[in-house]
Amino acid sequence: MPEAVARDKTATAQLQAGAPGGECQVKIGGDWRLNERVPSWNSVLQNHIAMNVRVVPDDLGKWDTSLLLFLVHGRKWCAAAKRDFHVEALPENLQTLLRQVENVDSPKPASKAAIQSNWVLAATFAKKLANKTRENISFVGECTLGIVSLARHPRGFRWMDCVVEMQRCWASSLPIVSLVSFLVGVILAFQAAIQLQQYGAAVFVADLVGLSVVREMGPMMAAVIMAGGIGAAFAAQLGNMKVDEEIDALETLGISTVDFLALPRLLAVTLMMPFLALYANVLGFLGGMFVSATMLNIPAAAYWIETQNRVGISDVTSGLIKSVFFGLAIGLAGCLRGMKCERSAAGVGKATTSAVVTGILMIVIADALFALIFNVLGI
């Protein structure tokens, strides 16, 4: 006997038909473990469907949920076949467990009612879209009102917060903006050189690099980097505050969350953006000059004069004007996504990603609009 306990026995379930009273007996024995092979109800029963079932233990060892599942299947089968299912001979605790799971339903595949028609899906989507749009518009409206009231009473504004955010925008983005802008200058110069050298017009590399950096690439690259760094940071900060009820706490104190949290950030990134763009322009110019001087044998002085001749002040200002709007787009996207964040850790992640995507999308759309406007105005 002692060995029998120590050794693991295979789970068994044997059917014995022809017991008295028109019943069949299912004898269960051995050790029932979830991670081992156990008999299934269907394989045990085979074709004996005509009789009531009585389950009896037969040298039953250790057991776990696998046995319970086996019995639940048996009970369900009997109920479906309108047979009696007797478990009185089983251990008391097993019977209790079986009673506790009396009403458990096996997971059903999605029913027809649950699969919604395309119309319902479309309507739900439209409703969600309408809600989102309303939310976005009202946020932009609140920000506009905030800016108006800031212009009226600049003393009530939290300037210190704004300065801190400006510092953060500037300091955290500077190294990466430097590197990327310089490399953009280098890349543009290389690409231009390949074509222009064929015509002996290598010196016009300066024109091409100068114009494309100042009008497009400088402000654009700086803005994309800011969207990735600062926009995401805004969304994560505000999202976290939302999750921790910090934003609720501001609201119940009657403090406008837009004035308190969004405006300083919005203003900081909008004010800093042109400076970063200008900085990116300089670095892009240096990148082009570096390639020209080292590989194309154009002296730095010649490059500088060529750039000066071609790139006018209107080119620079058009780029900087754009960058102000890029900054606004980044700030709006970051603050909006952060403040409308869902109250969960996953929500913060989603808000952050969405802030970056929305930010970059808005930058590109704004850029396209400006291309159109400048074209019409002939700038």
């Binding site: 306990v5 233990p57 039953l60 060892g61 250790k62 057991w63 776990d64 949920t65 251990p91 008391e92 605790n93 097993l94 467990l97 976290n240 505050m241 921790d244 009820e245 910090e246 609720d248 706490a249 609201e251 119940t252 104190l253 009657g254 403090i255």
Partner: protein, 269 residues
């Protein structure tokens, strides 16, 4: 403490609220009187926190009204709303201390926003408030540097910053050990007795309910409303509702435990 002759401090009239399409509470009405300490209790998901969010204006009700000192909060315009907001403080379940600010800044922000005190006065008031809750000398600490109990105290200090007539508590002893929880209860009583603040506490901590409550309002998920109202003692003694008795009964016979496990999953039978 109940003083029915005066106008109620908070009056909730036929409030129906919820999220999206789901109605959590339906047609709930009750009133809270000055200096009363009332508990809103009920099982998980019964709408305690939803009711609180409605009361403090973070959730717009579908129907009904919440009035403070006889003035409607729901129908109030921006200026009136701001005035009403000043009359209550809230202690949130997660404390909601602003993590980027020191304790002193946390407590002084409401004062800065709503008063025109001089910086020195502000400092003194902040020190006073922090001392009231037993946190003197912690002015320059950040919320992350505090223990759970200290955070609760700091949050209470902030809730009390504007000397509100009412303080709402969302699960004030959540996550606190029994001793700290008892201290918190003592602090709540002390504030009520010294400042005469009306308190509305959402909780399911039985010990706190029996220690503190002047009156208990019990919500229920199925009924979507109030199923019992009264002092804890009254409810224990007189309520015939099994849900109420079940909730408040501290000594209900638990299924008898035997020393010898009667077998079970993975046991030898």
């Amino acid at each position: 403490m109940k003083n029915n002759s005066s106008a109620p401090v908070i009056e909730v009239k036929h409030l129906t609220c919820g999220y999206g399409e789901t109605v959590v509470l339906q047609d709930v009405s009750f009133a809270v009187h000055a200096r009363e300490l009332i508990f809103v209790i009920g099982g998980s998901g019964c709408g305690k926190s939803t009711l609180l969010r409605c009361l403090i204006g973070l959730l717009k009700p579908f129907q009904g009204d919440v009035a403070y000192f006889g003035k409607s909060f729901i129908a109030a315009d921006a200026t009136q709303r701001r005035e009403i907001l000043k009359t209550f403080g809230v202690l949130y379940q997660n404390n909601a201390l602003w993590s980027s600010m020191t304790l002193a800044e946390n407590v002084s922000l409401p004062l800065e926003e709503h008063t025109s005190l001089s910086p020195t006065d502000l400092e003194e008031i902040v020190a006073l408030k922090l001392t009231e809750v037993g946190l003197s000398g912690s002015e320059e600490l950040y919320p992350a540097e505090l223990s759970g109990g200290m955070k609760k105290r700091a949050a209470l200090a902030r809730a009390l910053a504007l000397d509100p007539a009412i303080v709402f508590f969302d699960e004030p002893s959540e996550g606190l050990d029994p001793i700290t929880s008892r201290e918190m209860d003592r602090l709540i009583l002390q504030v009520r007795d010294t400042l005469g603040t009306t308190m509305v506490i959402v909780s399911h901590q039985l010990s706190s309910i029996f220690r503190l409550a002047d009156r208990v309002i019990m919500l229920d998920r199925e009924t979507k409303g109030i199923i019992a109202e009264g002092t804890p003692a009254e409810l224990v003694a007189a309520s015939t509702d099994p849900r109420v008795r079940d909730f408040l009964n501290q000594n209900e016979a638990f299924p008898k435990r035997t020393n010898q496990p009667s077998g079970g999953v993975l046991a030898h039978s």
